[in-house]
Amino acid sequence: MDTHRQRDQGAGGLTLYEKIWNAHEVATGPGGRTLLYVDRHLIHDGSFHVFEALRAAGRNVRRPDLCFATPDHYVPTGDRSNIADPVVRDKIEILAANTAAAGIRHFGIDDVRQGIVHVIGPEQGITLPGVTLVCGDSHTSTHGALGAMAFGIGASEATHVMATQTLWARRSKTMRINISGVLAPGVHSKDIILAVIAKIGAAGGAGHALEYAGSAIRALSMDARMTICNMSIEAGARCGMIAPDDTTFDYLAGKPFAPTAAQWDRALAHWRTLPSDADAGFDREVDLDAGALAPMVTWGTSPEHGAGIGTLVPDPAREADPARRKSIELALDYMGLKPGQAIEGLALDRVFIGSCTNSRLEDLRIAAAVVKGRRAAIPAMVVPGSGLIKKAAEAEGLDRIFKEAGLEWREPGCSMCVGMNGDLVDAGQRCASTSNRNFEGRQGKGARTHLVSPAMAAAAAVTGRLTDVRKLLAN
């Protein structure tokens, strides 16, 4: 702990990440490791290994009151009255039974608050500025949008958190990504983060905690900020954060699990101290002009394979590094693309609007505005991030807009982002998706994924092709 203090003093001010880290040190171990306290542990229906490991070792959950669970990976997004797949039914029932036995709050499949774990944490006010938050899912970085230190963990680490409410960790390096400029119409936060990943690479953030800063970030809503932090892991960073500000506090006020009255005032005073100090030092700084961005599309099988919609598929022969060249060749082969081919105009087979990246109310509004008065040319599904978002969208009539345009309006869950519930893209099919991973086989064996924003996915749905959404907005 002393070495950290010396370093901090030597470096001047503290970053947001360092402030949260320092406030959660329980003990130090050999080699500069820190035992960090965990304020919030989120749990989903893929957690059955963790409960099994606890049982096998005869351990109890230390702080069930700090754990929150909901099924998302396996839940059906169609009819839920009679779940035919016995494995899916089993996973949902096991989570309910495990959480009941441990005394853990569970937003079950019949609860309107059920949804994708990274959507409902902020929505319920479970995620707060300054907290440490973990979950056995790599997109836990999402919660950093509220100024939390949030990161994904494996099953062994989750078992450790259950048993001790702590984790051994080593302080990450810090990287600030300064995003200036004003987004052009039709360009959104998804395009910002795809551009960041294309710039720094899928391993560019490895070993770093990212902080997104700058005027373009300050101008974003909480929904849009969550999209950015969500994909930090696709840049290799476990953790991505945005300093809390009035946008954050306005969002949290009145949320069910957020503090109230005098506790709110006290929390707010603390939260206002969290942003990185003006003289804080970062290990790396990266700049990006959001005003120069076009809508982004990925052409390959890594999130770093992103480019503006008006560009051409790259030529692997131009890549000097042999392993990277090989990866691009394999990616183009898998995606059925040729070097030099135009990305815009590629014919698609289906569209997915949803996932912890882009299933919030603002995402649905943006997509609905594009499809309104048009007809879907290919199968397209819209999967809201939570039951409450679904309800709010229906209150605004968004569901009618989607349905009248021929898009499917479904129940909340992870769905076709990862396909564990059976919502899959067929082999060889090309899908424009608002999710976060275009990995081989991610949306189904042989499925070809193009990552896009909700606006671009909506444009793809009504044209059946990868289309520059700005051309539809102009009409």
Binding site: P30, I126, H160, A163, W168, F257, K326
Partner: protein
């Protein structure tokens, strides 16, 4: 956890940058219990395409993989590590790893080794040219010995090293800090009472 001390084995080159955990084990197999043997699904879809490098006879019995940049990126699924260890692999060498996969490896008695990019590329070439060649890893000495006797040194976190060398369960170690955890919780109740969820 099975201790990791030294390992001498055939090493297989895997020249794929950004090898994600969906390729290590596709998500559709994760619905099975671990007892189903996740190693049966290791690299499932890559293998189906035929002539997968790890399936070549020369690399049969390999327990070491020499990969490329950002090995094990993507999801937090520990099943990716269970699939590798279940298939007999115990060490993977690359210029960089997915952070969560890296951590998950240590938790399962496996050793991820970071070496400079050029050295990893040279190792892959060597293992391709001399298919079936062995590497020797000595965790205590932090060395990888090549077939010609030359040595690569690697860095490893001292805490993770101790845990691996001794096969320690981290939870048991942490429980020795129970009083410090309890004290922390008492301080937090006073200083940040809003964190104790109420709804």
């Amino acid at each position: 956890m099975e201790p990791f001390t030294t390992l001498t084995s055939i090493a297989a080159p895997l020249p794929l940058a950004n090898l994600d955990t969906d390729r290590l084990i596709p998500a559709r197999f994760l619905r099975q219990p671990r007892s189903a043997g996740y190693h049966n699904y290791l690299f499932h879809d890559l293998r189906e395409q035929g002539d997968f490098i790890l399936d070549r006879p020369a690399y049969k019995g390999a327990r070491i993989i020499v990969g490329a940049e950002n090995f094990g990126c993507g999801s937090s699924r520990e099943g990716a590590v269970w699939a590798l260890t279940g298939a007999g692999y115990r060490a993977w060498i690359a210029p960089s790893f997915g952070d969560i996969f890296f951590e998950n490896s240590f938790k399962n008695g496996a050793l991820p080794i970071i070496l400079p990019k050029q050295r990893v590329a040279a190792l892959r070439t060597l293992l391709g040219d001399q298919a079936g060649a062995q590497l020797s890893i000595d965790l205590a000495a932090q060395t990888v010995t090549l077939p010609d006797g030359s040595i690569e040194r690697f860095e490893v976190d001292p805490f993770r090293k101790e845990c691996l060398l001794n096969g320690w369960d981290e939870i048991d170690l942490t429980l020795q800090h129970t009083q410090a955890i309890t004290d922390f919780e008492a301080r937090q109740r006073v200083n940040s009472p809003w964190l104790v969820s109420s709804a």
